[in-house]
Amino acid sequence: MTAKKCMFSRRRFLQGAAAVGAAAVLPCTLLVPDKAQAAAFSEGDYQTFRNACPRNCYDTCSIKTYVQDGVVKFIEGASESTFTKGGLCVKGYAYTRRPYSPDRIKYPMVQDGRRSGKWRRVSWDEALDMIAKKMLKLKEEDGSLLGLGMTKYSGNFGITNYGVEGMMSSLGYTTRFVGTPCWPAGIDAQNYDMGNMWCNDPEDMVKARYVIVWGANPAWCSVHSMKYIMEAKRRGAKVVVVDPVFTQTAAKGDVYWQPKTASDGALALGMARHILDKGLVDQDFVHTYGLGFDEFADYLRNNVTVEWAAEQSGIPAEQIMEVAEEFATADPATIWIGYGMQRHTNGGASVRSLDALVAMTGNIGKEGGGARYGHLQTWGFNYHALIQKQPEGSKGFMGGAAKGEFDFTEGSGASYTDRTVNINKTAQSILDTTDPAIRMLWVSCKNPFGQDFDRPKLEKAFDKLEMVVTVDQFFNETVANSDIVLPVTTLFEEWTVNASYWHYWLSINEQAIKPMFEAKSNIEIAAALSRKMNELSPGSCTFPQDIDTREWMAKEFNQGIYDMFGIRDWTDLRNGPAKARLKSSAAWSDKKFATPSGRYEFKSEQCANNGHKALPEFKTGRESYDKFRLLTPHTKFGLHSQFVNLDWMHEYNEEPYIYMHPKAAAEKSIRDLDMVRVFNKVGEQKARVKLTDNVAEDCLLMYEAWFGRGNDYNVQNLVDDESADMGAFKAGAPGVAIHDQFANVERA
């Protein structure tokens, strides 16, 4: 017999068919007569649904959801996907906690006095009335809606959630926070080198004979990819992990390199110089498919030596030479270029060096090879939710708008556009923008107070805003700094479709349960807002007022998607996720690059024209301005501020820590688990310390996350908004040097 924790056991009053008691004239006002159906439940039956995790992780898991009595009971990974392979991750398995957490935001609410904690419940109608009236006032006073800003990013990547941008367009020309804190420098670098960011199918890593994981930590951030690296290793590949921190991934490799942070470009160039000297360059590739290799070779001979690279990075020369030779002679060899590695002032330049290493050894376009970063090959949706028309007569910005990396729209040719500001300088943008100022902010799929940099500056910036509307599932710091909060659906409560920027699978996301309380999906909110806007001022919003999320999901599909995935119709995905039919698992297998020359550009004029160097030259990193380098990478227990707040997660992750080297700690009389204060020019943060030589002596490590109930831990109190070198070319704005931060520490 099973333990009582069996799903089915519960009190039953009825045996068999429903009884109809004295229902007719019972004196109640809330409960209503039962619809007199036959007994709804038969033991052991679940309804199953297909869902997909939309949290913008590499793995974008395909999920199978088990529902009983209209309640999600448990979920598992879809077994049809060879990538997901039946399992999720520690965060995914906590999903059943999210729709049913008593802490969930249930109703639209208004805060009387920002940050006062005094919240009133209002109806959707009242909330939208307040919002619409403010928007109309902005339009009247400013002559446009440029005073309305939208900040949105990766909180929910179900494709129909582009309806938020669509909603903004349907209102008029607005101010958009574009760019991405995530990967823009690397995107630009890969675009300069190859004409697109396009990685191999990660499932082909099993064929690699040499794998360098450089500045990425898949053991924490892409757990499903680890099995491919492990299989490659089992087949005899050598795995080298390069990271300033001894990560979990590093513990699984054959060799671990701990270079000085931001010296990756120098290290790669040192390897390149050695490969050149040893005559191990793939001559056929560089001369048939490459452009400017000879100039690159000259640059190496005149500016780079292995000894210099050793000095810059701290990795001994013999090591550099050994790995370089092994990498160049292995066939195929591959580098997984991590996003952490390019979050530096020289990040883009470093990625170009790593790309060059892969290219000069002839590993681009090979199955099992490649310079792996990401791809957008499977994102060819219609973007029906995204593409909405501004109302007639809308006025906007006249200077041209930047486009984000996920913006697949064509230019409209109109003279007015949205006004764009850098999402990586949210606080500064709000403070500086004028004519008109950003007066109102719409926040969705994002937690600016958790993710945007220089938290103290962000508080000041928010003081300037007249109205802040946040759409979210849980109370976080951004909600605390808002005037109105709107409850949004979880993945189980809406229809949408999901693709990945890493693997090549496509998943449908079915609505498995009714939205709890009064939650609405982003497009339902847009429709409701449109109804209210048009009620107050006919023609002020073009977003359709009656929508069905299932229909809108279906509208995202086109023949291109069907052909790519070999499906007849989106309904095929209800049987499980589908994988793109690739002519080769390798990107660039035909070696026809999308650069101006059609070749791999070691020398890129475009790159020079955009203010960088034509060749992948070395670029020095940011100067230190404090005693320790501060690194704030991702924790395995959360996806930014999502999941870490759940009580289930607290069982395994009780509190945040600061990680410090024992020697550095001894110098400051800091012992293990002492309370310490990390501080710098931006602000400060207290937490307990764990001593470990996983971090270097001159480094402090803190995981970026928000811990929920009662804990105000926030690394953005220490991180400024210094830009990365690249990102403006293809991602809308420069990236941010998240790992070029410095701080000091003392006992608290």
Partner: protein, 186 residues
């Protein structure tokens, strides 16, 4: 040898991601504070890098289980067909004997039910031809289900460093020990 289902815990493949722990919680919804599968970091004496190697532990489904032996109401049975040690919570009187007697801490006290509970190897899933929730979930196949009667042993151990050596109980879990990479520090 009779069929004996067991967990194979490969700490070299294990990346300490806690997916197994949360998969169990997702399926059974244990109350707060009650954890059937926990992922324990190895101490630095055993593995030289802090929080980089882990033992994922639930119940060992011992040959001669302490819990079963001390239970006054026969709330434990060891299945004939596959050696799974099942706890029958409805018979349990919450006396705490099993909790006190198991050297591996497998039975936990449920303060809401006021009874014990523990991993029962998802036997209702096994009987339906499915893997235990934790085994299915593991992204690196670090946690596997084996049958000791058929298992071809290579380098697995029964008592990794730090694990109580209880030969009388004969725990069925088997472990693969973790490796360390070559370290090149600046």
């Amino acid at each position: 040898m009779k069929k004996q289902y067991a967990f194979l815990v490969d700490t070299e493949r294990c990346i300490g991601c806690f997916t197994c722990a949360m998969a169990c919680r997702n399926y059974y919804h244990q109350v707060e504070g009650v954890v059937w599968r926990q992922v324990h970091p190895l101490s630095e004496e055993i593995y030289p890098h802090r929080e980089r190697a882990f033992l994922s532990l639930s119940c060992n489904h011992c040959e001669n289980p302490a819990c079963l032996n001390v239970c006054p109401v026969e709330a434990y049975t060891k299945r004939e067909e596959d050696g799974v040690v099942v706890h029958h919570q409805e018979k349990c009187i919450g006396c705490g004997n099993c909790i006190r007697s198991c050297p591996y801490g497998a039975p936990k006290y449920n303060p809401v039910e006021k009874r014990a509970e523990k991993c029962s190897l998802c036997h209702e899933r096994l009987d339906a031809g499915l893997d235990p929730a934790c085994v299915q979930a593991c992204p690196t196949d670090a946690l596997q289900l084996i049958d000791l009667a058929e298992f071809e042993r290579t380098n697995e151990v029964q008592y990794p460093a730090g694990y109580p050596r209880m030969e009388g109980l004969n725990p069925s879990t088997r472990f693969v020990l973790p490796k360390t990479p070559k370290m090149v520090r600046r």
